[in-house]
Amino acid sequence: MKKLLLVEDNEMNRDMLSRRLERRGYQVLIAIDGAQGIAEATRHLPDLIIMDMSLPVLDGWESTRRLKEQNETKTIPVLALTAHAMAGERDKALAAGCDDYDTKPVDFTRLLGKIENLLPGAGAVA
């Protein structure tokens, strides 16, 4: 089973996304801010990280930058979730080291496609 880490501060979004991802056969770990995200990623080494960009404590851009600097976490793909309204945000997400991005509100089918593309051994969902 592929292990995903979802870093998202909004409780409803977190609950909804994690349940839907679990229905698709993923194991979902949760973190509610950037600092916790880095800690969880370092401890559990997930197959992929879905990272909201506007996070408390440490924002998504900085968290991604740090994950990509750490040897143990730098190969984990990071999928950024950015607010639709802010055109500059997606460029900043990629510049921070994110491997791909998607906009909120989430189009779940599209998000699944992006997740599968990024996972090592693409598409192999347990």
Binding site: N10, M12, N13, M16, L17, R19, R20, R23, D59, W61, E62, A83, H84, A85, A87, G88, D91, K92, A95, A96, K104, P105, V106, F108
Partner: protein
């Protein structure tokens, strides 16, 4: 003279009576600016008790009457050119120093030799009209401002609306999937309706947000280079299911080689989606074509995209309305076809933002053709250089205007911010140099030693915090004040790293400039505090002073003046004496009693006749007393400049 015999014309007495009793001022003046004749109305308009008093006081019209002596020169120039002037409007000093607006109708009288003998004409007091015009202008500005705030509010609000909607759509999708697993047929249908209504609502909010951003001037162009054919292919793939929904046939028809474009891809794509989505909606069992062609013109290449349908079409009247926000061809259209009515307004605005336009041709029953014409290479029309430069500017060839105005170094990756900041700071008397990355910024800071650094927090590769740490750790530049530009408040972090001040993005011009002034008052534009109760005079002074690159701070009376001194330290105070609440005498005393303000030069400008008593009260307190009306603009400016020069040696301040 009271003859009953009809004469050839009105008698001299009649003429005299007309002149004496006219409501308009009537005059004759010599080319060198003296009065030959005036009527009582003229003396009255200018605030004199009689014609005699007017003649006795005014020997030099250009300097004594006109607030701007250049008006008289301009007047004479026009007279020489046209022999008459109609509706020549100027501000004028009345006897008491107050300012009124007049309108003159004048013609030239020449002698037999063609030389100008005198000018004659009429004067009308138009102060009320001018005031009304000014109020109207202000009301208009206020209304535009209110409209912008409203749009700004909408933009923020729409963003907030999305967050709960995200949950509504997500949970209804989740529940529908679970209901499918459990085989709960009736639930599936209802949950699908919630989901579909949620998605529709999201579309509406997105449209409103786009319109609000366009109106608030917050919609930005992000140009990138892309292949047109590839873009069309992607658009077609995405939109085909929507266009073919009403059993329509859809085809893409490119003509010739389309090449690449350098413009805002997202906006072009969204515009094509809007046009194609509309065509699909209003066409049933018909044909929809997306045509594209590259057209060369002397101004460069353009791309023409046409969306042609065989649908319901429109009348001329309907066509005139469809590009307005919130309008469809008519209200029944909304009921029949749904939609927001925003798509076409957005499409047209988008195409105009990138330098093109969208037009429509249509006939009822025959279908419609929407054509979007877009320049292949986006140029910012306002300043005629591209907003987005693909390569970063090299430090070697940055043009920096010569001068001793303070130099502001802006470090921001967003080139549209460079452009904006450069333009408005230039007007405020700063020189600006821009860096688009942290590394470049640090290098420029070392090389140019700017007066202040404005630093954006969010930048790729090296963010603002890292740049700040480097700047503050470098002895060569560590004492240069740094102001952070940020979208998020993170003061603790900033101050601990040595930030001097903060500004929130989006940049608000007034706040930005006042923060900069805190750290570096432009030497090229010293501040003048104008303490004057008459609004017209204040505005006049502001205009003259700003033209000479002074920064003007206004106060409406002495008390207000003292309040202003708490915030700014002017190089000179221009002071009126007669003011409500606190007059100029008391103001002067208060200023001189304060050790921090004691050495600020004060220039008194007064319409009051200064008597020995007044002089005694001001003696040793003020730098100079200038008589309003008697002192021309140039004299005033020269006086201010010399006071500023002397202010470095405050002991020299002596009243005259």
């Amino acid at each position: 003279m009271t003859s009953s015999v009809p004469s050839a014309g009105p008698s001299e007495a009649t003429y005299r009576s007309i002149v004496e009793h006219a409501i308009e001022g009537i005059f004759q003046t010599t080319p060198d600016g003296r009065y030959l004749l005036a009527n009582p109305a003229l003396a009255h308009i200018y605030g004199y008790a009689s014609i005699e008093e007017l003649f006795g006081n005014v020997q030099e019209i250009a300097r004594q009457l006109y607030v701007d002596p250049e008006r008289r020169t301009e007047f004479i120039r026009l007279m020489n050119e046209h022999d008459s002037v109609w509706g020549f409007e100027s501000p004028i000093y009345r006897k008491d120093g107050s300012i009124i607006w007049i309108s003159e109708n004048v013609r030239v009288i020449r002698g037999a030799d063609g030389k100008v003998e005198y000018y004659e004409g009429t004067v009308e007091d138009i102060t009320e009209r001018k005031r009304a015009e000014e109020e109207l202008r202000r009301a208009k500005t206020a209304a535009e401002e209110a409209s912008r705030s409203k749009s700004q509010f909408l933009a923020n609000m729409s963003h907030e609306l999305r967050t709960p909607l995200n949950a509504i759509i997500g949970y209804s999708e989740l529940m529908r999937e679970e209901a499918e697993d459990m085989g709960l047929e009736s639930f599936i249908r209802d949950l699908a309706k919630i989901e579909s209504a949620g998605k529709h609502l999201l579309e509406l909010i997105n449209g409103v947000l786009d319109i609000a951003k366009i109106e608030a001037g917050k919609m930005e162009v992000h140009a990138e280079t892309f292949e047109v054919t590839k873009m069309l292919h992607e658009v077609a793939t995405t939109i085909t299911p929507v266009v073919e929904r009403n059993n329509n046939h859809f085809e893409v028809v490119p003509t010739g080689e389309l090449g690449t474009m350098h413009t805002d891809l997202t906006k072009i794509r969204q515009s094509l989606f809007n046009l194609l989505g509309n065509a699909g909606k209003f066409t049933n069992q018909g044909l929809i074509r997306l045509e594209a062609e590259r057209v060369a013109t002397p101004e460069g290449d353009w791309l023409h995209f046409s969306v042609r349908d065989t649908g319901v079409g429109m009348t001329a009247e309907q066509m005139a309305k469809i590009f307005g926000a919130f309008t469809q061809a008519d209200a029944s259209t909304t009921r029949k076809f749904g939609g927001t009515g925003l798509g076409l307004a957005i499409t047209r605005e988008f195409s105009r933002m990138v330098g093109g336009d969208t037009i429509v041709e249509s006939q009822p029953g025959k279908g419609s053709v929407f054509t979007m014409r877009i320049p292949a290479n986006f140029k910012n029309a306002q300043d005629e250089h591209p907003v987005v430069e693909p390569e970063p500017v090299r430090t070697g060839d940055i043009p920096i205007a010569e001068g001793d105005q303070p130099l502001v170094l802006l470090i921001d990756d967003d080139l549209t911010v460079h452009d904006l900041v450069r333009r408005f700071l230039h007007k405020e008397g700063f020189r600006v140099v821009c860096a688009s990355s942290g590394a470049e910024g640090i290098e420029l800071a070392r090389k140019l030693q700017p007066s202040i650094i404005v630093l954006d927090v969010m930048m790729p590769t090296m963010d603002g915090w890292s740049v700040l740490t480097r700047l503050k750790g470098d002895a060569e530049v560590s004492d240069i004040p740094v102001v952070m530009l940020t979208m998020v408040n993170n003061k603790e972090m900033g101050f601990s790293l040595g930030v001097d001040d903060y500004m929130l993005k989006p940049i608000e011009r007034g706040g930005f400039v006042s923060v900069l002034r805190k750290y570096c008052s432009p030497q090229g534009s010293p501040t003048v505090l104008v303490v004057e109760d008459d609004q017209t005079t204040r505005e006049m002074l502001r205009a003259s002073l700003e033209k000479e690159h002074f920064t003007v701070v206004e106060a409406v009376n002495g008390a207000d003046g003292l309040r202003q001194l708490q915030n700014v330290r002017p190089a000179v105070v221009l002071l009126d004496l007669m003011m409500p609440e606190m007059d100029g005498f008391q103001f002067t005393q208060e200023v001189r009693a304060n050790s921090q303000w004691r050495d600020i030069p004060i220039l008194v400008m007064t319409a009051k006749d200064i008597d020995a008593d007044d002089r005694a009260r001001l003696d040793g307190q003020v730098s100079r007393i200038l008589q309003k009306g008697a002192c021309g603009r140039d004299e005033l400016l020269a006086e201010i400049t010399s006071r500023i020069a002397r202010a470095t040696r405050p002991n020299e301040l002596i009243a005259v």
